[in-house]
């Protein structure tokens, strides 16, 4: 298990409000930039890792022992295909909705801004932080001396909509993960996130 110490939702909700306040002052672009840059800073703070083999790395990820799985429980579905069962932001989002009502629309606007300017892979504003963290933390992991690569394939928002990359990318990414599109959709019924982790040949 990765999240063995439960956060207090009071803090989770206030961090969402912090980002909303940034958006008030600096617009959607400021919101997006802050979320991305704080995820980069977070990833830069974690220790580097090295593994002898791919199996050693994959086992550590699934066991929650790698920095890659510090904030989520990850399952391996193929050699290079991985899923996250529960979005690490789901509790914070449901507490926000329970306490304050509907999410501020700026989260959707920031997500759209990210999808248009950085990469089309976010289903919610939290995905911007999560995917940037994964991208940056992968750079700190080496397996048999080779760097780890990460590519997002699908993300599911709290409202149920699934975001996938454009068709041309999706085909390549699914091949990289070693799963078919149908398998990918099947995985997204049960999981929040589907991604590939791989090394350069």
């Amino acid at each position: 298990m990765s999240e063995d110490i439960e956060s207090n939702p009071f803090v989770d909700v206030s961090v969402f409000l912090f980002f909303e306040d940034i958006a008030d002052k600096q617009g959607v672009e400021g919101f997006t930039n802050y979320m991305v840059s704080q995820a980069e800073s977070l990833a830069m703070s974690v220790p580097e890792e090295e593994y002898d083999t791919w199996e050693d790395f994959a086992n550590a990820v699934v066991a929650g022992e790698s920095v890659f799985s510090s904030f989520e429980n990850i399952k391996q579905i193929s050699k290079y295909g991985f899923v996250t069962e529960e979005c690490p932001f789901s509790k914070a989002i449901s507490e926000y909705i329970k306490r304050l009502g509907t999410m501020n629309s700026v989260h959707d606007e920031a997500k759209d801004h990210y999808n248009h300017t950085i990469q089309p892979s976010a289903a919610h504003s939290g995905c911007m932080m999560h995917q940037t963290y994964r991208q940056e933390v992968a750079k700190r992991i080496k397996i048999g001396g080779k760097p780890l690569n990460y590519a997002q394939i699908a993300s599911k928002a709290y409202a149920g909509n699934v975001v996938t990359p454009p068709e041309s990318w999706k085909k390549v990414l699914l091949e990289k993960a070693g799963i078919s599109e149908t398998q990918g959709f099947m995985e997204m019924r049960e999981n929040a996130c589907l991604f590939a982790l791989y090394m350069d040949e």
Partner: protein, 207 residues
């Protein structure tokens, strides 16, 4: 994961907006959080204190609170004008523990932001998160009425992760409670505050 973002976000923001800018952001967050929780009305102190014990008020979204009914605050005629409450666990304590375990030491910016608040606004923050938390309580209390009288939150004392304690003497004086008593409450709590009828003080003449 959202809560963990707090530390890297604050660190990042200090480099862009300075410690003073982060204090202002946190104050606005505390205010808007409390405003969005809405208003509450209770018929009397017993009803309000039961709601506090059961975690049904906007104030108890921060976590479990000990309602110290032995510490009733009274006016000159002995009428109850408020009570003292103790928050058992600081809401940011689990986040700090997880950050230290998964990422590393808490950034210096946490303390820098708290110190900026302590020197400019009120000497009552033991971490940067106290700024938004204390503001939240003050605004949330203003949105609650007990027996049709508005409430006011007086922050009394809090304890940091490493045991450092902050006391707000002017608030202790206002409710006439000895600071040694509050320190003893802090042995098993992280934060102590009073909720009283707005504008009142212990020993006041009745209106």
């Amino acid at each position: 994961m959202m809560d963990i973002a707090l530390y890297s976000l604050v660190d990042d923001m200090v480099s862009k907006s300075g410690t003073e800018g982060v204090v202002e952001y946190w104050l606005r967050v505390g205010e808007s959080y409390a405003e969005r929780m809405g208003k509450e009305a209770y018929v009397g102190w017993p009803a309000f204190n039961v709601a506090m014990k059961e975690g049904r008020t906007s104030l108890t979204v921060e976590g479990a609170v000990n309602v110290l009914t032995d510490l009733a605050i009274t006016d000159k005629d002995g009428d109850v004008i408020g009570y003292v409450y103790a928050l058992k666990t600081c809401p940011v304590a689990p986040t700090m523990s997880r950050f230290i375990k998964k990422i590393g030491p808490i950034h210096d910016s946490d303390n820098d932001v708290a110190e900026n608040y302590n020197s400019r606004i009120r000497d009552s923050a033991v971490s940067n998160y106290c700024i938004t938390h204390q503001k939240f309580r003050e605004v949330a209390a203003n949105n609650i009425t007990v027996s049709k009288q508005g409430l006011e939150c007086l922050h009394l004392a809090n304890k940091g992760r490493l045991g450092d304690v902050k006391m707000v003497k002017e608030n202790l004086d206002r409710i006439n409670v000895d600071e040694r008593h509050i320190k003893s409450i802090l042995r098993s709590a992280s934060c102590v505050f009073a909720l009283i009828v707005k504008g009142k003080s212990a020993g006041d003449e009745e209106d």
